[in-house]
């Protein structure tokens, strides 16, 4: 299996083999962060720009650390303080970044498809760090990596995703990735937070948390993004916790070794109880650690492939 894409835009386009290659490569990269000198010279002399049109701390820092451990030089652009404020278009911003001889652009944007548009206008590699409600591929990859590391495989696993599926790029990327690798995915939320026709993506829908947890090997708990609720469609916070919050009592009805995952930042007492977030089934901080290895693998693969394409 060879990686031939200059970009990583989402998991929908990828084959099962490509996803497996990323996960396998990430396994080797995980060791680098355990060394005394946490750095390899693989991408020395190349430059990466973090271009973030939406606020982000953990994803940006994770990409930055991943890049630095590969010896990439990193520039961070937060658009609130850049020329985007002066009316520059996305493509112009991209072309200007490229004129600085940048090799990789990691972008987060509020519009679905923004990374794909940028990738068609620049020769640099583009890595999607979240585009609107569309995809957040590296988050799903690190979720899958964590599952595989903990449970040994993805094929045949039952994974439930609980929370605002409608507005979640994390959910979409997870659904694409997990189903391609043979996992059975259930999505669970109040009805208005489940997109229409989501069953066509090969997932099971349930409105009952009890049902979602019953046979699950893992539950991926999404953050309730109250800031995205423009039309008042969301339940109130307490009401949500009562019906969909992950608590010890609810987990007691599930499989004993069920893994609890969360992409962060967590809202304690809204989608997850504090003692669950800190409890023995939680792998939330492992996800953060694994994020670096997965992003190193992605950066390495796209930068390598692009080097070859440009030749």
């Amino acid at each position: 299996m060879k990686w031939k894409r200059k970009d990583l835009l989402g998991l929908e386009d990828l084959s099962r083999e490509e996803i497996e290659l990323i996960l396998e490569t990430a396994r080797s990269f995980k060791e680098v962060s355990k060394r005394e000198i946490k750095k390899v010279p693989a991408l020395r002399g190349k430059t990466l720009v973090n271009l973030f049109y939406e606020p982000s701390t953990r994803t940006r820092i994770s990409f930055e650390l991943a890049a630095k451990r590969l010896s990439l030089d990193v520039i961070n652009i937060a658009t609130e303080t850049s020329s985007v404020r002066k009316g520059e278009t996305l493509i112009d911003t991209g072309k200007n970044i490229e004129a600085l001889r940048v090799d990789v652009i990691v972008m987060r944007h509020s519009s679905s498809g923004a990374a794909a548009i940028l990738s068609r206008h620049v020769r640099a590699s583009v890595v999607n760090a979240g585009d609107g409600w569309h995809e957040h591929p590296t988050q799903a990859l690190l979720d899958m990596f964590t599952l595989k590391e903990r449970l040994g495989k993805l094929d045949g696993l039952h994974v439930s995703i609980v929370g605002d599926i409608s507005h979640s790029r994390v959910a979409r990327s997870n659904i694409w990735g997990l189903t391609k690798l043979g996992a059975q995915v259930t999505v669970c939320a109040p009805k208005m937070l489940i997109p229409l026709a989501i069953e066509q993506a090969g997932v099971r829908v349930t409105y009952s948390l009890e049902d979602a947890l019953r046979n699950a090997d893992a539950v991926n708990v999404l953050r309730m993004q109250f800031e995205r609720d423009e039309i008042g469609a969301f339940p109130k916070q307490l009401e949500y916790f009562k019906n969909y919050g992950i608590t010890q009592e609810r987990l007691a009805q599930a499989k004993k070794n069920i893994l609890v995952m969360h992409p962060g930042p967590i809202n304690r007492g809204i989608e997850i109880a504090s003692d669950v977030a800190d409890g023995p089934q939680s792998v939330i901080l492992e996800q953060v650690t694994n994020g670096i290895a997965v992003r190193m693998a992605v950066l390495f693969l796209v930068a390598q492939a692009n080097e070859y394409i440009k030749r």
Partner: protein
């Protein structure tokens, strides 16, 4: 794809076995204090050779020599040339290298570039007292000032020839053959 046309067998299974026994003895002639010695095999075949040497040592002295695995992909100097190929494999050195004598093990010594990368990577794991190089085959054509301390067999080759070391563990047979890429 280029194919490999076999020209001659240069080592048989029996010869490989005897060669490794001799190399193991040489390691201890050079390093009387066996407690200092650790083995590090270079992926992929260097790792299997290192394991065999480890077993030979254990068989004669009952000493368990620590063994590490090195994948040099991330330290290569031709990453931009080789194309979308490099497969990143496991690196695993879970013991301290400081003040140890590291015997680096590889199957074939050729340009020396792999060894350069391996040395750079090793230094990121600590500061060994000394690094020695053990190879089953030295085929010449060095491009860097590197030499091996322990050589199984010197095989003069031309540049368009290749040497393939085949090992039971991955290739199903123990032999070293010389051939030509076509």
């Amino acid at each position: 794809m280029s194919t490999f046309k076999e020209k001659a067998k240069v080592l048989s299974a029996e010869e490989i076995k005897r060669t490794l026994q001799r190399l193991t003895h040489q390691i201890f002639e050079n390093n009387p204090d066996s407690k200092e010695v650790v083995l590090v095999g270079i992926q992929t075949r260097g790792v299997y050779l290192a394991r065999r040497i480890q077993a030979l040592i254990k068989g004669t002295t009952a000493i368990d020599i620590p063994i590490g695995v090195l994948d040099i992909t991330l330290y290569r100097d031709d990453l931009t040339v080789v194309g979308p190929k490099p497969e990143v494999r496991e690196t695993k050195i879970d013991f301290n290298l400081s003040d140890k004598v590291v015997v680096l093990v590889d199957d074939v010594l050729f340009t020396g570039r792999t060894i350069r990368a391996a040395l750079d990577e090793l230094m990121d794991f600590g500061r060994p007292q000394r690094v020695e190089l053990l190879v089953l085959i030295d085929r010449g054509h060095r491009e860097l000032p590197i030499r091996a301390d322990f050589v199984g067999k010197n095989i003069p080759t031309s540049k368009n020839e290749t040497v393939e070391v085949r090992l039971e563990e991955i290739d199903g047979i123990d032999e070293v053959v010389i051939g030509e890429k076509q």
